[in-house]
């Protein structure tokens, strides 16, 4: 069971002073079945006028801050120590047929309740379109299991789409990602969500970190990691199972979860509204360092 020491620093520089700012932070890892948060803190500079932590609608820890004094920079540093349990890859074939969920033959009694249905419904950045629906239908076979369906789409995005951060931005529509067959983790996640929701399957957006493994024989580069995004798909048999279309991975120990939402809008690590400020520059550094030895828990 690995333990990670994670630091996630974001620094904003503003060309002119910001008179007042509001921020909503989703940088605190939530508890999930295979992950436990040992230590966590968020350091904000300059000190905010008000700061409050609460669980958001989706159960994610969120921090809301306001700064009422003029400021020309803002830095947010989230530090966490997290244990990740071994997660076994479920037997993909053992989940029900995707049509059982699409046709709602699976109901509330089997767990398809409000909290799960939320992720099958409309959301701005991952709305199913005719193109994404066609993509899903030509990828997924009739009668395939839910998890096989999710896995097939994961694989296809991994194989056919190029990772290219120059072709998209935070709000690129899924149809464009599909047409140009390139983008970044966030785009791939939105595309996969739209495709699976087009089939009627509850799918959620997961915001988090991924440990990057250095090439054989090389030292790990500190601060070279990044925020990451992938998806999670629901089946009555296994609950939520994670799929990472950027790396073609299922439920891995290298993934650290921060928050779930319907799409990026719900769990953007830092969003804010400023009065004043002019242009801004931002620098982000993420470090996911495996801690060895002392972190092992007695299980």
């Amino acid at each position: 069971m690995p333990r990670y020491a994670i630091s996630h620093k974001t620094h904003y520089d503003y060309a002119s002073p910001v008179i007042q700012s509001f921020h909503l932070l989703h940088v605190s890892p939530r508890e999930v079945s295979h992950q436990s948060v040992q230590r966590h803190s968020v350091i904000i500079e300059p000190a905010p006028t008000s700061r409050e932590s609460a669980l958001d609608y989706f159960g994610n820890p969120a921090v809301r801050i306001t700064l009422e004094d003029e400021h020309s920079e803002l830095s947010v540093t989230a530090l966490s120590a997290i244990d990740i349990d071994q997660v076994d890859t479920p037997d993909l074939e053992a989940s029900c047929r995707w049509e059982d969920i699409a046709e709602r033959r699976v109901g509330a009694a089997a767990g398809l309740n409000r909290t799960v249905l939320d992720y099958a419904c409309y959301s701005r950045l991952a709305e199913p379109t005719p193109a994404t629906a066609a993509f899903a239908r030509e990828t997924v076979q009739a009668g395939a299991s839910v998890l096989t369906a999710a896995h097939t789409i994961t694989q296809r995005i991994f194989e056919e789409f190029a990772f290219d951060s120059s072709t998209t931005d935070v709000s690129t529509p899924v149809d464009q990602v599909l047409a140009q067959k390139s983008g970044v983790c966030q785009d791939f996640a939105h595309l996969q969500i739209a495709a699976l929701r087009a089939l009627g399957l509850p799918t959620r957006y997961v915001s988090g970190y991924i440990r990057t493994r250095p090439p054989e024989g090389q030292e790990r580069l500190v601060g070279a990691d990044a925020s990451h995004a992938w998806v999670s798909v629901w089946s009555p048999e296994f609950g939520w199972v994670d799929f990472d279309p950027t790396n073609n991975l299922i439920n891995s120990e290298d993934h650290v979860t921060i928050a779930y939402g319907r799409d990026y809008d719900d769990v953007s690590p830092i969003s804010g509204v400023l009065l004043g400020g002019g242009d801004h520059s931002v620098s982000v550094s993420v470090d996911v360092a495996p801690e060895t030895g002392e972190a092992r828990s007695p299980t």
Binding site: Y57, E103, S271
Partner: protein, 871 residues
């Protein structure tokens, strides 16, 4: 003939001069199947029968006229809706039924919203499929768990229609904004104007009391003796603006936009010229999800960032509560009877029309198998303006491609769609080109939360609708009707609606707090009006002096001299020789008609209208009419094409001699007349603000703008004409010119009958503080105004704006006339040039200082910042 005789007469039918034939087999509101007029309509029909068609047509025309005058958008042109001269009559028994159903709906919806944002029993108990609500973009998840003590609904509007057999249905509900109240108020006011004593003879309920009670309950709810209640609306020019602005004005609430508000320390504030002022209650006239760019829609800047956090602190802050519009969702229709039983333990009194929510696979398949029988609608439209619902999609009349797209859409977005069978509507009489004819209609009724419950307004607005295309209220032309509910006899005592509407004075609360944005707009309105006036006076005088040959052209150095500095403002070319070669026609046209010239007349007039629109609620209806009717038509000397050619080729191609030899444009007198007309309008507006506007801070900012601009314009003109000494024979003309432009010619003549003397003229136009046209007078008024502003008053230290105004005034006061008139060896009046130069160079600075002091809050534009997940 007495009314009772008339009633008896129409008992058996409409008098012979009238023909009215309901559609066979369709319920008609006025006439039953046997051709008898229903009781509630008898007084009205009796009165109508006594009027000739001509009288009715005339009233219809008058209505159109009133609508156009009062409600047309200067940028759009026509009135946004039409009003039928025939009201819709509802009998007392009918009304009792409608009232009970509407009250039940309000209670039902209030409970439904509370459940969806709270325990969600309806979902867990299987009464409503969760995805009906979860698919609705207006379900605002961050508000889950926030419970307003006074309930989520303060205002609710319901669209009702009878099916052809006469049964009432609730075809739509509106809980997002108070949409439609503006129509009701405006329609009632107009009906009062055109219908004479018809209203009272029909013994209909008045609606003033309803609004009074609603306003009282809002005050009670805000828990403050003198609460600040603001109405949040979209910006002027947005479709919903007009109705909300009208309602706000009627209720006396300040109209605010998102940028007028700020949240600090989880409290809501209004930006005023005194700084931030606490807002106790925000009446919401914009979509809930666009009210907080931080926690709700990221692009929603119609409310202030942080509003949700302020609502968590005080859940009663916003009415209707954020997220309340989930009850507009048509997908709820099939489940409402169950909701009524679950939440109220009652049967639903008035059902929705038969409707299917397409999120359920079985229902979806059923509808797809009989698609031609249905009309497909969005479950949630989010538009509450009467008559503007979407028409819905009808597969039966589609080509194969559109049909395939519709089927695909139903498969993909079924959870956000409903299907309805079009069944048609009952009809009511409508006054059209062919007299009275039956037309399908829907009725919007309004419910408001009062202390301890809900109340229904005894009236409403009825709309003529398209029977074929939709169940929802769709009406492109928004042909509306006032709704008269027959009351008891004698009618209840009432507050006169008309009197309140006609009082245009700003409500007392508003005069206490002047929004930064309003102050900003009033200031600039003053400046633009004065700028236009000055421009017109200079144009007129240029034309008069050249055309009427008051001064032979050969004697003037250049007829363009007074126009020169105006033209220079927008032109990069500083080569004066080049400028001087411009033909007089071109120069005049450039200033009077060329679009896009920043300091030209068309742009200035556009700016007058724009700023006036922004502070419309502070202007009387008469003032507003004057300003919106300003037009630059007839001010150009040449048709546009010719002007363009001259502009492109003519400039610079004429020698100085050509210009000097050229006379004024041939239609100079027409242009002068049109200038006169515009000046009269501007003078009427100036007079109206002077005579009618209360001397509050709003007026002060308007007047400051006016004074500042007048001082700048006049000092620029004096500089242009007199800084360089002209030959003796020309100075008389220049002085005449300046005196006319400054409207001081007669004063001058009456004071100094003898030879025109430059020193005397400078005294009158520059230094004489008793002359309301002099530079000194403007500066003295400015200084006084600034001293009265909140940031100056009572302050021992003079603020920078106050110091600057005083400094300029002192310079002018201390000026020595002999020195001002003295000409140097270079032929220049150095002292005069320096003094005037200082005045017009420093005035923009003064304007800037005032802006920074009082309007800067209004300039803050919030921006959204987002981190990226880019791996």
């Amino acid at each position: 003939m007495t009314a009772s005789v008339g009633e008896q007469e129409v008992e058996a039918g409409i008098s012979p001069s009238w023909t009215y034939a309901p559609v066979s087999g369709v319920y008609d509101e006025m006439m039953d199947a046997s051709g008898a007029v229903r009781p509630a309509w008898r007084p009205l029909v009796s009165r109508f029968s006594n009027m000739s068609e001509a009288v009715l047509s005339d009233r219809a025309l008058k209505t159109e006229h009133l609508l156009f005058e009062n409600f047309s958008d200067p940028q759009e042109g026509g009135p946004p809706w039409r009003l039928d001269v025939a009201p819709l009559m509802l009998g007392e028994q009918e009304w009792v039924r409608i009232e009970a159903a509407a009250l039940q709906r309000a209670r039902l919806y209030n409970a439904l919203i509370a459940d969806a944002y709270g325990p969600q029993r309806l979902f867990t108990n299987g009464v409503v499929p969760p995805d009906v609500v979860l698919n609705d973009p207006s379900f605002l998840r961050p508000l889950h768990g926030v419970t307003p003590p006074n309930g989520h609904l303060s205002m609710l509007a319901l669209d009702l229609a009878r099916d052809p057999s006469g049964d009432w249905r609730v075809i739509d509900a509106h809980a997002e904004t108070p949409a439609g109240h503006g129509y009701v108020l405006a329609n009632r006011m107009m009906m009062a104007e055109v219908s004479g004593d018809l209203f009272s003879s029909c013994r209909a309920y008045r609606i003033g009391q309803f609004y009074q009670a609603f306003a009282d309950s809002l005050v009670a709810r805000a828990q403050s003796d003198d609460p600040t209640i603001a109405l949040l609306t979209s910006a002027p020019g947005e479709p919903a603006y007009l109705g909300h602005a009208y309602m706000g004005r009627y209720l006396g609430y300040m109209r605010v936009e998102g940028s007028d508000l700020r949240v600090a320390d989880k409290r809501l504030y209004l930006k005023t010229i005194d700084g931030l002022k606490r807002v106790d209650l925000l009446l919401r006239g914009v979509e809930g999800r666009r009210c907080d760019p931080l926690e709700l829609a990221p692009d929603g800047f119609q409310g202030p960032a942080g509003l949700v956090s302020a609502v968590r602190e005080n859940a009663d802050l916003v009415a209707n509560a954020l997220g309340a519009s989930i009850v507009e969702n048509r997908g709820l229709s099939p489940f409402l009877p169950g909701v009524a039983r679950e939440l109220l333990g009652e049967d639903l009194l008035m059902p929705d029309p038969p409707r299917h929510w397409l999120g359920e696979p079985g229902v979806r398949d059923h509808v797809l198998s009989k698609l031609d029988d249905f009309v497909i609608h969005d479950a949630h439209e989010g538009i509450g303006r009467p008559g503007e619902a979407q028409a819905g999609q009808r597969a039966a009349s589609m080509d194969p491609d559109s049909r395939a797209a519709l089927v695909e859409n139903v498969g993909l977005r079924g959870g956000r769609l409903v299907a309805e069978r079009p069944v048609g509507f009952a009809t009511a009489p409508h006054w059209g080109a062919n007299g009275l004819a039956p037309a399908p209609y829907a009725l919007r009724v309004f419910v408001a939360a009062l202390d301890g419950g809900f109340a229904v307004m005894p009236g409403g607005v009825a709309l003529t609708i398209d029977a074929d295309s939709a169940v929802a209220v769709t009406s492109q032309t928004a042909l509306s009707r006032d709704v008269w509910v027959a009351g008891p006899n004698p009618p209840p005592p009432a507050i006169s609606l008309k009197r309140i509407v006609r009082e245009n004075a700003v409500a007392p609360r508003q005069s206490q707090e002047l929004q930064s944005r309003a102050a900003d707009n009033l200031f600039w309105l003053g400046r633009y009006c004065e700028r236009a006036e000055s421009l017109l006076r200079i144009l007129r005088q240029t034309l008069t002096q050249t055309a009427a040959d008051l001064a032979p052209i050969s004697r003037r150095r250049h007829p363009l001299a007074p126009l020169q500095h105006l033209l220079m403002k927008d032109e990069a070319e500083t080569d004066e020789q080049l400028m001087l070669r411009r033909r007089l026609c071109d120069a005049i046209d450039e200033l009077s008609a060329a679009p896009g010239r920043l300091h030209g007349l068309p742009n200035t007039i556009d700016n007058i209208k724009r700023t006036a629109l922004q502070c419309r609620e502070r202007l009387s209806i008469d003032s507003w009419r004057i300003l919106t009717s300003l037009s630059t038509r007839g001010l150009a000397s040449q048709p546009p094409t010719l002007r363009d050619i001259n502009g492109a080729n003519g400039r610079g191609s004429h020698g100085l001699e050509d210009v000097l030899a050229e006379s004024a444009p041939s239609n100079a007198l027409d242009i002068v007349e049109n200038c006169d007309a515009l000046l009269e309008q501007l003078a009427a507006f100036a007079g109206m603000t002077h005579e009618n506007m209360t001397r509050n801070r709003g007026w002060r900012f308007l007047d400051m703008g006016r004074r500042l601009e007048r001082a700048a314009q006049l000092s620029e003109l004096l500089h242009a004409l007199f800084a360089d000494a002209a030959p003796d024979e020309e100075i008389g003309d220049d002085m005449t010119f300046a005196l006319y432009v400054a409207d001081s010619y007669l004063t001058f003549r009456s004071r100094y009958r003898f030879a025109p003397d430059l020193k005397l003229m400078l005294d009158l136009l520059l230094i004489d503080e008793t002359n309301p046209r002099s530079v000194a007078y403007q500066l003295s008024r400015l200084s006084e105004h600034i001293g009265q502003l909140p940031k100056s008053a009572g302050d021992a230290h003079r603020a920078p704006d106050q110091r600057l105004a005083l400094d300029l005034l002192t310079q002018v006061r201390l000026a020595d006339l002999d020195q001002l008139a003295a000409v140097s060896e270079e032929g220049r009046r150095e002292e005069l040039a320096e003094l005037l130069g200082a005045v017009f160079a420093e005035l923009p600075h003064l304007s800037e200082l005032v802006s920074r002091q009082y309007f800067s809050l209004a300039d803050e534009q919030p921006r959204r910042l987002q981190s990226q997940t880019r791996s």
